[in-house]
Structures are given as C-alpha cells and as structure tokens.
C-alpha cells in the first residue's frame, strides 16, 4: 500500500519549511514514524494528482493544510477546510498521528479537503 505513497517532507526540498515541525526537537523513534494519508477532494475543489502521502506523525493539520494549498496553488485569501470521517474538522494544531490512531482505517487516514464548508 505504501509503495506509491509519497513522502510529504521530500517534496518540500525547494519550499520554505512549514511553520510547525514538532519532530525537529524530539528524537524519539515513535515521533519519527510516518502514517499514510489519503487526500480526497470534495465538490469542485481541485483534485490532487498525488493523493497518497506519507506524513510524519507529529505533523499538524495546519501544516498539512498549508501543504495542500501550496500544491494546489491556491490564493492566499482562499480557505481550505479539512475533514475527518466526513464529519468533523480537526483543530489546526491537532497532530495527524493522533487522528490516524483514532480514526484511521485499513492502515491509512482519509482526509477530505474542500474550499468551502462541506460538513458544517
């Protein structure tokens, strides 16, 4: 499953580092581990060419959201909404590792993203 999951960090070699990198300080093996994230577009939001990503557990939702916005070349004033289980929007400072533990299925965390509020 993971062979076609690209690493989120590798594609950012030419981009400025994202503001929140909690894994920089911690050295524990647990936090260096990655989880698989599957990104799904909602409504008429552009679909990402690469949907499967390998993300560090300590990465925040905000950091992931910024990555998607940049990838989709969104305008600075455009908002992006992220949803788990097609039901709730996690807090921007929430770690993807925790979301994966609680809401992951089949070895991955499915996140829906949308330019407008999809599920309130």
């Amino acid at each position: 499953m993971s062979d076609n999951a690209e690493s989120l960090t590798e594609t950012q070699k030419d981009e400025p580092s994202t503001p929140q990198q909690p894994t920089e300080d911690s050295g524990t093996a647990d936090e260096k581990k990655k989880i698989d994230v599957l990104l799904k577009a909602v409504g008429d939001t552009p679909i990402m060419k690469t949907k499967k990503w390998s993300v560090e557990k300590g990465r925040t939702v905000q950091s992931l959201s910024q990555f998607i916005s940049r990838f989709l070349k969104m305008e600075a004033n455009e908002q992006l909404f992220i949803y788990v289980n097609q039901s709730f929007s996690p807090s921007p400072d929430q770690e993807v590792g925790v979301l994966f533990e609680c809401f992951g299925s089949d070895g991955k965390l499915v996140l829906h993203y949308c330019k407008s509020q999809a599920w309130g």
Binding site: S26, V84, N85, F88, S91, D93, E95, E101, C102
Partner: protein, 275 residues
C-alpha cells in the same frame, strides 16, 4: 440518581476567581487597574473576556490595540482549551486568584491560534462535539440531530444556560442498553512535562469480557507513569475539573458526568506538590 444530576450542575457552574493584569510593556494613556472576574471552568477564554477587553481599552489608544491574548507566568494560554483545563494544567497548586497577564501586541503565532470572532469558537466547539460523537456513537447521534439542535448546544454554552444545553446534550450521553456504554471514550490526557500536546487513543469503557474499565485502567494502558507504585510517595496528580477522582471510578461514568460541554474528558496529569 439525583446525586449524579447534581454532579452535572456542579461541573457546569464551576468558577475560577481570576485577576487580569495588563502586561507592563503595553502602551497606556494612564495607569491600568487590574480586572477581577469569575471565569466559568467549562467555557473558553475568548468567549467570556469581552469585559476584560473593554476595561483595558479604556486606558489605551486604538492604534496600540491588536488581538487580545493571555499568558500565565510566561505560558501563552490557548483559548481553544477549556478554561478549567488551562487552570488545572498550569495553575493548580498556586494561590488564588489566578493571575493572568493581558496582551494586545506581539501575538505569539507559534503558540496560539487566532480568534477573530465568536463564530470561530463556535466552529471549534461543534467540531469537538462531532469528534467526540464519532468516537461514542460513530457520529450517529450528532448526525440525527437537526441544525437547530446543534445551535442549541452552542447557545447553551455561550449564554451559560445549563437546562438549554443539557436538553440536547443528554442525547449525546445515551447508549444502547445492551452495549453497557459508549463505543469509545472521548478523552485527552494533558501532561505538563512533555512536548506532545496530549494523549488521545481509542479506549473502550467495557472490556470484551464485560469488565468495567476505570480511570486507573485507562491510565495503566495509555500513561502508566501517572500511577505511582504503593511503596513510593505520589509523584503525580490526575486532575479533572479541579478534583482528583478515585482511580476506581468507572470511565463510562466519568465520561457521562465529568466531560466538558465539548463531550471530552480533559484530564490533567501534573506533578504532585512537594511538601
């Protein structure tokens, strides 16, 4: 079960006497007096501090005022954490009133989320409730509610209306009798001495063989450090709403009675005070 309903009221009406003092480097036109307020444990800082803002704006010029934020002894206070949690985590064993410093400049982008309006607080609050129900009922109960029911939960919190809030919230506290409890318990364990914001995992209130899980069982599973050995003196306190529940307390009961309005059990593990 009259006593249990009393617990719900006690939790809802918990207050923390607080003294707000303006940060010394803020530019004022004259001396700023401190402002005293009883903060509701179950609410959020930005929802209940309009009076604080009004008070300090009286002595400041508009151009010197940006988004208000708070710190306690150098720690920026996250508005999206319930007030009671912030107190238990950072100021549990300090003298009352809780002394909070007010800022209008140099917003700490790395530590805090912005809060431009009450609708941001509402969105955060409702998302937490939805996340909790995803764990408790696979979102079935919250999804069966109408938009106006969701609004009632928020209005109850915003206007400090216990009956209005619980008329709806009681539905989120129900479960099929044959199950014995929720599917998973929504909880977060906050640690003062750690980099990670909190521990949150899947944990069932009843074991497969019908054994009722307690607070102690939860800690043993996800953070055994919190429970000291019999021969050692207690190193940590496990605090919920300012009290240390017995470790034998059933987790299901705690979830139904000591959760915050967002339906999460917010648990602080803090160093026990040394004598």
């Amino acid at each position: 079960m009259a006593d249990d309903k009393d617990v719900l009221r006690d939790v809802w009406f918990g207050r923390i006497p607080t003294c707000f003092t303006l940060y010394q480097d803020e530019i004022t036109e004259r001396e700023a007096e401190p402002f005293y307020l009883l903060l509701p444990r179950m609410s959020y800082l930005t929802l209940v501090t309009d009076k604080v803002k009004k008070h300090f704006l009286k002595v400041m010029k508009a151009e010197d005022v940006e988004e208000m934020w708070f710190d306690f002894e150098g720690t920026s206070l996250k508005w999206h954490y319930p007030i009671g949690l912030l107190f238990d985590l950072h100021a549990s064993n300090t003298a009352l009133p809780w002394n909070i410093t007010v800022h209008f400049k140099n917003f700490p982008e790395r530590d805090l989320l912005h809060c431009p309006s009450n609708s941001v607080i509402e969105a955060h609050f409702m998302s937490s409730i939805k996340e909790a129900d995803a764990l408790k009922h696979k979102s079935q109960v919250i999804n069966d509610m109408q938009k106006k029911d969701h609004k009632q939960l928020w209005m109850g919190l915003q206007n400090d209306k216990f009956d209005q809030f619980w008329a709806m919230n009681r539905k989120l506290m129900e479960y099929p009798t044959e199950e014995g409890g929720f599917r998973y318990i929504p909880f977060r364990i906050y640690l003062t001495m750690s980099d990670r914001p909190f521990i949150q995992k899947l944990f069932r209130p009843i074991s497969p063989d019908g054994h009722t899980h307690t607070l102690g069982d939860l800690l043993k599973e996800v953070y055994p450090v919190a429970i000291s050995n019999d021969d050692e003196s207690k190193r940590y306190q496990v605090v919920i709403h300012g009290i240390e529940p017995l470790l034998e307390t059933p987790l299901q009961w705690l979830s139904e009675h000591l959760s915050h309005p967002d339906n999460f059990l917010h648990i602080s593990v803090i160093p026990a005070p040394s004598d």
